[in-house]
C-alpha cells in the first residue's frame, strides 16, 4: 500500500468491500461479540477475587464465631483443648519478614545504587540479570538447600559464633537447634532481595539525570550526589520496593516451613524455632481433625490474605507515584 501510514480515518470503506452490518451505536455485531468475550475475561478477575474472599470468610465463620477478635491476641494453640490463638503465628510472620528486610534492604539498595550509578556499563545488565535469576528459583528448592546446606552451616559455624560474641543479648541465647527464626529470616532475605533490587533499580533509573548533574555541579562527590539528590527523589519508590519485598516475605510458605522449626511459640531468642501463618496452614491443613481447627486455619489464611493485600496495595501506590509518567523500564540497559 502506498498510502502514508498516518492517513486519517476519514478514508471511507474501499468500494470493493461489502457494507459492514451495524448493530448498536454504529458498531458491528462482530465487534460487540469480540468485546463481549474480552469483557468476560476481564470480569473473571474481580469475580475470582470476590469468590476467594467469600470462601475464606465462610470457612472462618466457625472460628470467628468461637474466638472473635481474641484470636488475634491469644497465644494458645491447643488442638486437644480446642483453644486457638494466632499470636505466635502473627509474631513469627512479622518477625521473620522484618528481620529478612533488615538483612535484605541494605544489600539490595547497595546493589541497586551500585548498578545504576557506579558500575561499569558492561557489567550492569549481566549482574542485574544474575540477581534477578534468584527470583526464578522455586521456594521448595530454597527449602531443600536450606535444610541440607544452610542450616548445618549456620548450626555448626555461625550460630555458635553469634552466641559467644553476642550472647549477652537475649536475642542470641538459648539452645541452638539449627531450625530457627534466624534461619528463616536469612532464607527470606535471599528470596526477597531480587525484588527489592530490581524495583529499586527501575525507580532509580526513573530519576532525571539533571538531579545528579546538579548536585555534582555544586561540588558533591559521586556518592554525595547519589545520597543527597538521587535517592531522596526516588524515596517513595524505594520505600515501595521495600514494602513489596515485605509483601513477598509475608506470604512465603515452603522455604520457611522447611527451616523455621514449626513451633507455636513466641521466643526472645533468634535461635529458637518459630512458626508463620503460611507455614502453619501448610503443615496442619490436611490434618486438622476438628472442624474448628480447620476453621481456625482458614481464619489464619483470611488474616494473612488481608495483611498481604494491604501491604501490596500500599507498595504499588508508592512505586506508582515515582514512576508515573516516567518512561517504562528498559532504559539505559
Amino acid at each position: 500500500m502506498s498510502e502514508p501510514v498516518g492517513a486519517v480515518a476519514e478514508a471511507a470503506v474501499p468500494p470493493s468491500q461489502p457494507r459492514i452490518q451495524t448493530g448498536l451505536g454504529g458498531r458491528s455485531w462482530a465487534d460487540l461479540g469480540f468485546r463481549g468475550v474480552l469483557t468476560l475475561g476481564a470480569l473473571a478477575v474481580p469475580l475470582l477475587m470476590a469468590f476467594l474472599v467469600w470462601e475464606l470468610w465462610v470457612g472462618s465463620r466457625l472460628a470467628i464465631g468461637r474466638y472473635g477478635l481474641d484470636f488475634l491476641v491469644s497465644s494458645a494453640w491447643d488442638p486437644v483443648a480446642q483453644q486457638f490463638g494466632a499470636v505466635p503465628l502473627i509474631f513469627g510472620t512479622l518477625v521473620s519478614s522484618l528481620l529478612a528486610l533488615v538483612i535484605a534492604v541494605p544489600l539490595s539498595l547497595g546493589v541497586a545504587i551500585f548498578l545504576t550509578e557506579f558500575a561499569p556499563q558492561a557489567i550492569r545488565q549481566p549482574v542485574a540479570f544474575l540477581i534477578e535469576l534468584l527470583a526464578a528459583i522455586p521456594s521448595v528448592v530454597y527449602g531443600l538447600w536450606g535444610i541440607f546446606f544452610l542450616i548445618p552451616f549456620l548450626r555448626e559455624h555461625i550460630f555458635p559464633f553469634l552466641r559467644s560474641a553476642l550472647g549477652f543479648l537475649p536475642l542470641f541465647q538459648g539452645p541452638i537447634y539449627g531450625q530457627s527464626m534466624l534461619a528463616a529470616a536469612i532464607i527470606l532475605a535471599i528470596m526477597v532481595m531480587p525484588y527489592i533490587m530490581s524495583v529499586s533499580r527501575e525507580v532509580l533509573l526513573a530519576v532525571p539525570a539533571s538531579q545528579r548533574e546538579a548536585a555534582q555541579a555544586l561540588g558533591a562527590t559521586r556518592w554525595e550526589a547519589v545520597i543527597t539528590a538521587v535517592v531522596p527523589y526516588a524515596k517513595s519508590g524505594i520505600i515501595g520496593a521495600v514494602i513489596l519485598g515485605l509483601g513477598r516475605a509475608l506470604g512465603e510458605t515452603m522455604a520457611v516451613t522447611m527451616v523455621i522449626g514449626n513451633r507455636h511459640e513466641i521466643a526472645a531468642s533468634l535461635f529458637a524455632p518459630g512458626y508463620t501463618m503460611a507455614a502453619a496452614i501448610a503443615n496442619e491443613f490436611t490434618e486438622a481433625v476438628e472442624d474448628v481447627h480447620l476453621s481456625a486455619l482458614t481464619y489464619v489464611a483470611l488474616v494473612l490474605f488481608m495483611v498481604t493485600v494491604l501491604v501490596n496495595a500500599g507498595a504499588r501506590l508508592l512505586i506508582w507515584r515515582v514512576t508515573r509518567g516516567a518512561p517504562t523500564g528498559g532504559q539505559g540497559l
Binding site: S28, V37, G41, L133, W145, T253
Partner: protein, 281 residues
Amino acid sequence: MKRRGLRRWISNGMVVIMAVAVVVAVMPLLLILGTLVVKGAGSINLAFFTQTPVPAGETGGGVAHAIVGTLMIVGAACVIGLPIGISAGIFCAEYPANPLARTTRFLADVMIGTPSIVVGLFAWTWIVARQRHFSGFAGSAALAVLMVPMVMRTTEELIKLVPNSLREAALALGYPRWRTSLVIVVRTALPGIVTGVLLAVARVAGETAPLLFTALGSQFMSTDLKAPLAALPLVVFTYATGPYEDWHRLAWATALVLIIVVMLLSIAARLATRQRFDRKG
C-alpha cells in the same frame, strides 16, 4: 581541601562497600546452583526420567510419574488460565478508561501478591471439599488462579506498547475494530505475550503450596486429572523432608531438573523481551 579529601575518601569507600554487596548478593545464586549440580547431577540418568518410585527405603526408581503429573497439571492450568488472562489483558489495554478495566487492573495486582498457600486453600474449599476428592484438576485450578493476573498484566503492558499509529492505519484501511485488535495489535504484541506466558508458566511450574491439598501427590504414573497426581515440586518437598538417603538423592536431582526448566523458560522470556525492545529502539 582536607574536608574534600575526606569526602572523596568516603565516596570511594562507599563504592567499595557497595561492590562487596554485589558480590554477597550474587553468592547465594552460585551456592544454590552449585550445590544442586554437585548433589543432583550424578543422579540424573535414564532411570530417573523413565521409572516410577520404588517402595520407601529402597534404592532406585525415578520421577517419571511426577514429570507427567507436572505436565498434565500445568497444561490444564494453561488451558484454563491463558484464555482468561489474555482476554482480560486485551480488554484492559484496548479500553483502558473503562471502570471494569480499572478495577481488573488493580485487582490483578492484588492477586499477584496473594500468597500461593491461600490460593491453594481456596481451591480446596472451591473444588476438593465440594467434589469430595483430591484431584489434579483442583491443582490446575489453583495454578490457573495464580497465572491469570500475571498473564493479564504482561499482555496488557505489551499491547499498550503497540503504537496507536498502527491501530489508526488499520482502522483507516477499513478493518473493523475487532479485527484491528485481534489481528493487527495482538499479532504485533504476540512475541511479548508469549514471553509473558512463558514467565507465568515458569513461575507456576515450581509452585508447591497450591498443590499440597489439591493434587495431593501419588506414587503411580497416571494422567487422570480427576484423581490425585504427582508433581515435581511435591516430590522435592516430600523427599527432602523424609529420612531416606535415596529420597534425598532424588530430591536434589528433581530440584536440579526443575530449576533448569524454570530458568530456561525465564531466560528465554527475558531474551525475547530484550530483542523486542531493541527492535523498537
